[in-house]
């Protein structure tokens, strides 16, 4: 974790109000993990807002969404059993229903976003069986026995993924709407780099490689399937670079002038 400076963290139990403590209790975040949870964000970065909004949104979330759901009659129902964020799910749904709509409308997992619904923006990126794909162009009917990870399943409990903490630190989003897709994409990208997979910018694809250290341009090319209209790209690259290399960098630094000379 490239987040040493935040290990100063706040002493969570001393600085929080009773309401905040009650909320963290409710969320099941205790002791060491509570300290870590807050520490990851940097003490000052965690306003009561977060806690408050989390509580409100949690209260509204329909955790019983599947069981409470009465499926309207559809013409070509299919039954699909698959795993979502580690939990087994079985749904009967319209054969036309995309994975994106099933996640959002049937499973209450609204982190994956519908930015274009046509595979042209990347906001719906999820990870299926280890590979990043677009949920908007995936039929749920084709997901039988597959394992799907969405943004809601990227953190392990209260441990944010290194990409998530780096996104916060480097301010790798503004409006945040493309962010779930960016993060799923980046998490998968790190594995692709470990696998030594090539990109269009790879100078010599014939050269055998092990795990890759990606240049900034390689990160840019490999993340180009995720559009960001706010224009957070430089910060997205900085965040991924930090998680990918394990080397902490100053989010406010004037550029280190890495050579940017993609052959295009």
């Amino acid at each position: 974790m490239a987040f040493e400076e935040n290990d100063v963290a706040l002493d969570a139990d001393q600085q929080m109000t009773a309401d905040e403590e009650a909320l963290l209790d409710e969320l099941g975040i205790f002791g060491e993990s509570r300290r870590k949870f807050l520490g990851q964000l940097g003490g000052v970065g965690l306003g009561a807002l977060v806690l408050q909004v989390l509580a409100e949104e949690k209260a509204l979330a329909f955790s019983d969404s599947e069981t409470a759901y009465v499926a309207p009659a559809v013409e070509n129902p299919v039954t699909v059993s698959f795993t979502v964020n580690g939990a087994k799910k079985s749904l009967e749904l319209d054969s036309r229903m995309t994975l994106l709509d099933a996640l959002r409308e049937r499973l209450g997992l609204t982190g994956s976003k519908k930015g274009c619904d046509h595979g042209q923006c990347g906001a719906c990126t999820v990870i299926i069986d280890g590979r990043r794909v677009l949920a908007c162009l995936t039929l749920t009917a084709q997901c039988e026995a597959k394992s799907v990870t969405t943004i809601e399943g990227i953190a392990k409990g209260t441990d944010l993924h290194a990409i998530q903490t780096a996104f916060i630190k480097h301010d790798a989003f503004q409006c945040g709407f493309c962010t779930p897709g960016q993060i799923c994409s980046a998490v998968a990208l790190m594995q692709e780099a470990k696998n030594g997979e090539a990109s269009y910018l790879t100078a010599n694809v014939r050269q055998k490689t092990g795990a890759l250290q990606l240049s900034d341009d390689e990160i840019r090319e490999r993340m180009s399937g995720n559009l960001c209209r706010c224009g957070a790209y430089p910060n997205i690259v900085a965040a991924i670079r930090e998680a990918h290399t394990g080397k902490a960098t100053d989010p406010m630094a004037i550029s280190q002038m890495e050579v940017h000379d993609a052959t295009v």
């Binding site: 706040l10 600085q15 109000t17 964000l41 940097g42 000052v44 970065g45 306003g47 009561a48 807002l49 977060v50 909004v53 949104e57 509204l60 329909f62 969404s65 309207p72 319209d94 036309r96 229903m97 959002r104 409308e105 997992l109 609204t110 982190g111 976003k113 519908k114 930015g115 619904d117 046509h118 042209q120 923006c121 969405t150 809601e152 916060i168 301010d171 989003f173 503004q174 409006c175 709407f177 493309c178 993060i183 840019r220 993340m223 180009s224 960001c228 209209r229 706010c230 224009g231 957070a232 790209y233 430089p234 989010p251 406010m252 004037i254 550029s255 890495e258 940017h260 000379d261 295009v264």
Partner: protein, 706 residues
């Protein structure tokens, strides 16, 4: 603990960051509303005329369909907005291609979308105005838009020794926030709740209330997170009205999102501009005349003009100038505000022309600009509240390595690439708009928590965070003790996140509320203090465990005596593949003087975003209408190219420290709009420096550099 509370200006991570990186932030379509039905909009396939018949029989029989709403059976609503409100199914008239003609409501999204295809509409075509080239011939000066005249432009231009006379074109551009416009509408009796992301909470509330004949308080807008706006989410477009109408008709909650394809003709656009620039200067490099004539289009039902010429009236010391506009009505969705409305497109023309003039004079473009720096705002003779153009230019030149620039084009190479440097300056006005804040304080012993409540919006600007910073520092509390509630019309009314007024309006109001609370608490006790008391001490002295106060803040009266703007300079280093004509922004530097910067991290990000927008404007973005029918042929993200990650090189951002005592109490100027101003010009100027080709019509796609 003082150091914990000195947080204004610090590079603090967003307080809403955790929600955004975990997928927990709720945007318009993310709210878990039970028993929801799904709506889908059908669009017109003519640009002008009338609907003669709509055959909905097949759609009504289509599985799952609950209702089909057309002008024949639509709920009667009031025309509420001549810009955003065209297409609310009140009559059979068609004003532009892609106007709403029907709404389907079904049990599922799949059913609604499928049934929409079975609706058959018959039209009577009328003559349509869909060809910009033909329409501009009939362009006229818009009402209430006189030329801005100084001195005698014609005489000075005609007599000048050195002249540039050139026309610059910018295409239609679309906002395309990543979150398409949407609403979930829920009626309870005559009260309507709309979960709908917006830049202007009160604006949507008023628009919807007017349309349905309700009191504003009967319409509740919930919008804590906004997936981008850039001007298009500035008010209630028809999709919100139709969602509410559909929910009323089917008597249950309705979800309605605009498809990406329909974002092209549902929520405004930036119109095409043709700008004629005439610049004259002396051999010594002093500007003597400046003419800026803009021709653009508007929709047939509303007059909207982007002020492309505004910078020409105030950026330079030029004794003779004339700035004017012409506009042609076209059958196209209404043009509306888009990031840097006027200044961004206008600066492309003005700053390109200034660059052309510098080349004509064989002067360094940075020096040329500094030489023509105006001592005051010549458009209104007011003093600047502060102006950092020269510092921005000097600092930017240093950061980009301007000394590496070769004055002659095509002298700088790297492999297949021609390398070039370009500069442009720019500005955007600073304003504070009325905003109310409710501050609630709660105390347990020495521990005080604050809740700051106002109907502000956060469209990715970082409003949540800077509001918390302002309250924390003003109250002397750590940020973790401050809760921020925004994005809800039930809260005190606030300015919108538009026109770079957000930060100044929100933060001054919040600071006023915090200061007022301290003053009021002090008045409740006779206690005298040797050392300034904490809020906890004040509340203790007043024997209060809870206290709340509200302010209705507005701009300081004296602010109008000054001309207040944020100023910037953009520097771009581009690499142009000599053979393919593909341009990449290798490095870009943006230096801004914007008064007090509330959060160094989010401010930097916002300026970077402006640069990326400028890259899109310069290189990739163009909405193309087929003049035969008025439809957009670039109706997807595969055709309308917003920049991708690889399009964007290194971007360096710096702010000139500036304490502006006049603009508003906190000295905040705003940065969202100014961030895009000048970017496209800096890139186009760099492309000229690289290639010797002056591209005057954006975007600079490969074909234009062959």
């Amino acid at each position: 603990m003082a150091s914990d509370t000195k947080v204004i200006g610090e590079a603090i991570s967003r307080i809403d960051g955790l929600l955004k990186v975990t997928g927990a932030a709720n945007y318009g379509m993310d709210w878990p509303i039970r028993n929801v039905a799904y709506a889908f909009i059908v669009k017109s396939t003519i640009a002008a005329g009338t609907i003669t018949d709509i055959d909905t029989a097949a759609a009504e029989k289509s599985p799952g369909v609950i209702a089909v709403i057309t002008h024949k059976n639509a709920t009667k609503v009031v025309a509420y907005d001549p810009m955003r409100g065209i297409g609310i199914l009140q009559d059979n008239k068609i004003n532009f291609y892609g106007q709403n003609v029907a709404v389907l409501v079904a049990e599922t999204f799949e059913q609604a979308r499928a049934a929409a295809r079975s609706i058959k509409v018959s039209y009577q075509n009328a003559d349509s105005k869909t060809d910009f080239e033909k329409c501009v011939a009939e362009a006229v000066r818009p009402a209430n838009r006189n030329d801005a005249v100084r001195g005698d432009f014609d005489a000075a231009f005609n007599a000048a020794e050195h002249k540039v006379d050139a026309t610059y074109s910018t295409p239609i551009e679309h906002h395309h926030p990543m979150e398409p416009h949407s609403a979930i509408a829920v009626w309870e009796g005559d009260n309507l709740t709309l979960y709908s992301a917006t830049q202007v909470v009160g604006g949507v509330q008023r628009g919807v209330a007017t349309a349905f004949g309700l009191k504003p308080e009967q319409v509740h807008i919930i919008s804590p997170h906004v997936g981008g706006g850039f001007g298009s989410k500035g008010g209630a477009w028809t999709n919100v009205i139709l969602a509410a109408m559909a929910a009323k008709v089917v008597n249950r909650p309705v979800k309605l999102a605009v498809t990406r394809q329909n974002m092209f003709n549902s929520v405004g656009l930036r119109q095409q501009n043709r700008q004629h620039l005439r610049v004259a200067a002396t051999a010594e490099g002093k500007l003597s005349a400046l003419g800026h004539d803009t021709t653009q289009f508007t929709t047939t039902t509303n007059e909207f003009a982007e002020s492309c010429g505004i910078l020409a009236t105030m950026m330079y010391e030029v004794p003779n100038s004339r700035v004017g506009y012409k506009s042609a009505a076209m059958n196209v969705i209404a043009p509306t505000f888009q990031r840097g409305p006027g200044e961004s497109t206008g600066s492309f023309a003005l700053e390109s022309a200034i660059d052309e003039m510098a080349y004509a004079l064989k002067m360094d473009p940075v020096e040329f600009r500094i030489k023509n720096e105006p001592p005051k705002d010549l458009s209104n003779n007011k003093p600047w509240s502060s102006r950092a153009t020269v510092e921005c230019l000097k600092r930017g030149a240093e950061m980009i390595g301007w000394k590496n620039r070769k004055p002659e084009p095509r002298q700088n190479r790297n492999g297949d690439n021609l390398v070039g440097y370009g500069v442009a300056s720019g500005s955007y006005p600073s304003r504070q708009s009325p905003t109310s804040t409710l501050l609630k304080l709660a105390r347990k012993g020495d521990d005080v928590t604050a809740s700051v409540e106002l109907a502000a919006s956060d469209i990715g600007t970082g409003a949540h965070t800077i509001i918390a910073q302002t309250a924390a520092e003003t109250l002397g509390l750590p940020m973790s003790k401050v809760a921020v509630k925004i994005g809800d019309s039930a809260l005190p009314p606030a300015a919108g996140s538009v026109g770079s007024i957000g930060a100044a309006s929100f933060c001054n109001s919040v600071a006023d509320a915090c200061n007022q609370a301290k003053t009021e608490l002090q008045a409740k006790t006779d206690r005298k203090w040797l050392i300034a008391p904490t809020v906890a001490q004040l509340m203790d002295a007043a024997s209060l465990n809870e206290y709340q106060t509200r302010v209705d803040a507005k701009a300081p009266a004296d602010a109008a005596k000054y001309s207040s703007h944020a100023f910037n300079a953009n520097f771009s280093e581009v690499w142009v593949n000599e053979l393919t004509g593909m341009v990449r922004v290798h490095r870009h530097v943006a230096v801004t003087g914007a008064g007090r910067i509330m959060n160094a991290k989010t401010a930097r990000s916002q300026v970077i975003g402006g640069c990326v927008w400028g890259i899109g404007m310069a290189l990739t973005e163009e909405s193309i209408m087929d003049p035969r029918w008025g439809n957009f042929i670039t109706r997807s993200f595969a055709d309308y190219h917003i920049p991708a990650n690889l399009d964007v090189g290194t971007i360096d951002v710096a702010f000139i420290p500036e304490e502006d005592q006049f603009v508003n109490k906190l000295g905040i100027k705003g940065i969202g709009e100014v961030g895009i101003v000048g970017v496209a010009a800096a890139i186009a100027n760099a492309v000229f420096n690289a290639t010797g080709k002056r591209v005057r019509d954006l975007p600079i796609t490969p074909d234009k550099l062959l």
